[in-house]
Amino acid sequence: MNHSPNHSLRTEFLGQSLPSPLVLPSGILGMSHGSLRYALEKGYGLVTTKSLSLSPREGHEGPVVARFAGGVLNSLGLCNPGIDEGLREVARFVEATGAPVLVSLFAVNRPDFVELARRACDGAGSFIELNLSCPNVMDEFGVPLAASRDLVADIVEGVKKVCRLPVVAKLSPNALDLPSIALAAQEAGADGVTLINTLGPGLLIDTTARKPVLHPRFGGISGPAILPLALKIVHECSGVLKVPVIGMGGVSTGDDAVQMLMAGASLVGVGTAVWLSGIGVVDEINLGIREYLEREGIPSVAGIPKLETGHER
């Protein structure tokens, strides 16, 4: 085993060199140039904006977050200041730091996604992420956009037509046969896939008040509860994809992050852990990955072996 003293976390992603494989997921901080800078300084290698929509959204009244034994529920409701103000914040961030930004967009149909992407491509971001798991659509159709292979393909294709920046499709775990949906995104031109968005949604009830804890009643599930599901989905999808995967869902320790990389992720999101363990968790995870590389004599993050796919019984 080769114990090189200087294991770097530097990771290539779609032509950019990042100082760490850790990604600030969309919806965590990422509200303003200040919060993007904060995340960068706390050790993330790549930062993502809140999911930006055509018009500003105030989100839900709340309570919008709740803890349970396995993690967190949130019903923030995709609050964001709208694409134009959001892109101004991105520009300020890029001006100050020169760091790349993953600009998350969300809409409920192809024309709006295309319009968002058009504006985002004129902005200072480096990559576009399409949040295809919009809860509005769930209210309308009972399932997220990302549950439909055809809708995913259609939107990605539309966006790619107008977009000079690499496009990453963010998929929902609330779908059957994720690999085929991820493949559909790739075939439609996606340059990467982000997995997974929050699970569910779920429900928690205040038994004294006899009311849901959150308002509105349901919230997407994140945190440690969803790690094994995320690992499974990332493993299965990255096994069939040629494009890179940003893996996230419950990653809270260095070992979790290494598992995610081994499952096939190129980058690893760390969101809910910022609540449950504090913002210092980002550097702890960076350190944990570095220690793993050293212990195992692996020279770089990209050298972490991928778990073999295959179906032993």
Partner: protein, 265 residues
């Protein structure tokens, strides 16, 4: 695991025409300046400081500003509250000559702080201001404490603001340390009057999660989260901010400029 509790209101106490203190036996320790996310199971969850804490009984002084605080302050004994917290960085009580400046409901956490400073052996001067006399909160409570209490109603006499009055008080006797809480405009007006005095301000920014993940309450350009690294900020932290006294963010995250502040950069 769970940082949320559901409690019944143990008692209430009207505080003039626009505010009420709700008392709960929450069985938690809250330090001066820390806050709770309070919900009433009818939609909405908002940050509130603790104004009193005695033997496990907490007082939350709610001033009516809009629909949520109106509902909350009309709640009665026996009503159910959801409390998350305590969250945030508290004030640091100092054993010297302390000046506490509060505007509107900002006076609430300063009441708890005053008691902590006195307990730590410090000397306390309080300046409390509001637009009208009956909007000055907790005056009776301060008057019962061994401290130097001053208040001002902007619609009376000289029309002094809390900042004006604080300046006068400081002219007479320079404190070792200043603590302030209230509308950001007030804090911004106070800052230049403090010269090289050391201070801590408690900031109010829009909060949704209260635990440092949603980004609502973050400041520019450092990105500090008022719900975690604040609400109480040291002088150094305040000096770094470009938005202090200029703009905050609304529920969508869009900038809202304070009256008189100019958009730009």
């Amino acid at each position: 695991m769970n940082d949320r509790i559901t409690v019944r209101i143990a008692d209430t106490r009207p505080e003039g025409p626009k505010a009420t203190t709700l008392y709960v036996d929450a069985g938690m320790e809250v330090l001066p300046g820390q806050f709770l996310m309070v919900a009433d199971f009818a939609g909405g969850e908002k940050p509130f400081s603790v104004s009193e804490a005695e033997g496990g009984r907490l007082g939350i002084t709610v001033r009516e500003y809009g629909p949520f605080s109106r509902r909350l302050r009309s709640m009665e004994k026996g009503g159910l509250l959801s409390l998350r917290g305590p969250y945030g960085r508290p004030f640091t009580p100092r054993p010297g000559d302390c000046l506490l400046v509060g505007g509107g409901s900002g006076i609430a956490p300063l009441h708890l702080l005053a008691r902590a400073i006195l307990a730590a052996g410090g000397r306390v001067t309080v300046v409390s201001g509001a637009r009208t006399r009956d909007e000055i909160l907790l005056g009776d409570r301060f008057r019962r404490l061994p401290l130097d209490y001053h208040e001002t109603a902007e619609d009376e006499g000289e029309g002094l603001t809390a900042v004006d009055l604080a300046a006068r008080v400081m002219e007479r006797k320079r404190p070792d340390f200043v603590y302030a809480a209230g509308p950001e405009g007030m804090l911004a007006a106070l800052r230049p009057r403090l010269g090289d005095l050391d201070y801590q301000f408690s900031l109010e920014r829009y909060m949704k999660c209260g635990v440092g993940i949603c980004g609502s309450c973050t400041c520019d350009p450092t990105g500090i989260r008022i719900c975690v690294e604040g609400p109480v900020l040291d002088r150094d932290r305040i000096e770094e901010l470009e938005d202090f006294g200029r703009y905050k963010r609304d529920a969508s995250g869009a900038r809202v400029y304070f009256p008189g502040a100019l958009p730009g950069a």
